[in-house]
Symmetry: C2
Subunit: 310 residues, 2 copies
């Protein structure tokens, strides 16, 4: 079973409006609503790929109930979210039907009490002891959770001999990298924030020196750059894909985790991650992936080994 | 007991953001959440004024549960909302902290099935038969409810000898006016849309010819213009009040209903409506009213009888 952790789960709303004008009143023409937060998005893709997956983190209030209700229909997915007093946040993507552009409004998330955070750490360790093939720690921290939270969760995974992937940013990333996660998946901005370098190869190597055992940097349309103990690769889609990039990074994480859980060689993991990511950009619904496009793309992703000149 | 009907209840959210920029991503710094829809806002004010009040209409989904949870603490207020399959809509007021301006996003509301609409009509007639001093029909119609809905609800109230106030707009208002409601409370735009006239006195008289027994037009900062079988009055606050006008119209409706239920003479009803409306503009929280300001304003509202030159 693969475990994904989403401490700041969300009820993701998408509003379509004929045109967004500040300080005007708008009738929303279409509302869609689904469970969100990076780890939940990753789990949804893993479930669709055929993996057994357990989601944990926090859920509270009416929005938390809506998140849990939205998870019930997903095959092979177990909801191990912990109830909290505060209400799960909403995120609202306001899509302008004229321009196709999106304006994003993100609530901060509920205040997690020290008792709730302690309860989570215990539940997490119990889950790790129950036969987990890989764990992913994903997204931002809600208020009240200490900034070093992911560092502790990385150490607990390593103590339980469970491979751990980390996908976060800012200070929580910086602290957790020092705890030696097996894999981090920053985008170019997150990598530059961590290392101070805007040159991806240099920054990726620096991130490894800071403690990450492997780094897979997502470079947008250029695909992925992977620097690992086993070698260095670049993986790219066969052609530039156009569409909505929402969730593409989460699909890449799901591809990497899926390949890790199946103990695939690195090039196959990277091909899976790039194909899923591109198939997500191509899908009509934000954050979903197009299964046919995924299968078609999988054999056409180019994965190139690079000699390590370092 | 006063009855308020809100067919399109809402969970009203207010987001504060440092500045709203289309097509950017925003962290919401503060979220407030409360039950909404005009009839619920009116009921909240009536409850605060000391009236027994029952709210009915539809509530469904997680948002509907949040609306009902938000009503439980209000004194003297009975929740008689009918459960429906669809989810109660949200409205989002995005307040720009720099400018103080508000951008409004309103979901359309759940699809009401014919069976749900029939169930409502039966429940409404049962409520009318249970000792109602006045009923208010407030706000927009959710999808699925026929455009002539309010006309039928006005006729049912009249058949039960319950005075009925109507506060809606557009075609639902036009149809319901013909069913001879005791009182309508349009603003200047709604009155112009109904009658084709932008001259308030002319438009108000025309609305009475169309069937409304009395018309109280809300003219923003100028206060109220009342044209009734008993006479014609203008009521205005002692000075121009500055603040947030959200909910001021609903507070005016509550004042009119409160005075109607207590069988006050028209000038006293109008003074109450104007004072509540101004005290709502002055209150720091949108849609609440400032009790001290209300009491202070009540004696200072000017109500002027006008000779009917018609």
């Amino acid at each position: 079973m693969i475990l994904t952790v989403t401490l700041n789960t969300a009820l993701d709303l998408t509003y379509r409006v004929p045109g967004l004008t500040p300080h005007a009143s708008h009738r929303v023409t279409e509302v869609t609503e689904r469970p969100g937060g990076k780890g939940i998005n990753v789990a949804r893709v893993l479930s669709a790929l055929g993996h057994e997956v357990t989601v944990t983190g926090f859920a509270g209030g009416a929005t938390g109930r809506a998140v849990r209700d939205g998870l019930t229909g997903l095959p092979r997915l177990v909801d191990a979210l912990l109830p909290v007093t505060g209400a799960t946040r909403r995120t609202i993507a306001v899509v302008d039907e004229h321009t196709g552009d999106t304006t994003q409004l993100n609530e901060p998330g509920p205040l997690i009490t020290p008792a709730e955070w302690n309860a989570f750490q215990e539940a997490y360790e119990d889950l790790l002891a129950g036969g987990v093939s890989a764990v992913a720690l994903c997204g931002s921290l809600p208020p009240g959770v200490p900034v070093g939270a992911y560092a502790g969760l990385v150490r607990a995974a390593r103590a339980a001999a469970v491979p751990v992937l980390l996908d976060t940013s800012g200070e929580p990333l910086r602290r957790a990298v020092a705890a030696r996660p097996d894999l981090i998946k920053p985008n170019a901005d997150e990598l530059a924030e961590l290392t101070g370098s805007h040159e991806p190869l240099r920054a990726t190597r620096d991130a490894r020196r800071r403690g990450a055992r492997a780094v897979v940097a997502s470079l947008g349309a250029e695909g992925l750059l992977a620097v690992t103990a086993e070698g260095r690769w670049r993986a790219a889609p066969p052609a530039r894909v156009r569409g909505n990039p929402t969730g593409a990074g989460d699909s890449a994480v799901a591809g990497l985790l899926s390949g890790l859980a199946e103990r695939l060689p690195w090039p196959d993991r990277l091909a899976r991650a790039v194909a899923l990511s591109a198939a997500t950009v191509l899908a009509p619904v934000a954050g979903e992936y197009d299964q046919r496009a995924y299968e078609e793309l999988l054999s056409r992703v180019t994965v190139t080994a690079e000699a390590d000149a370092a």
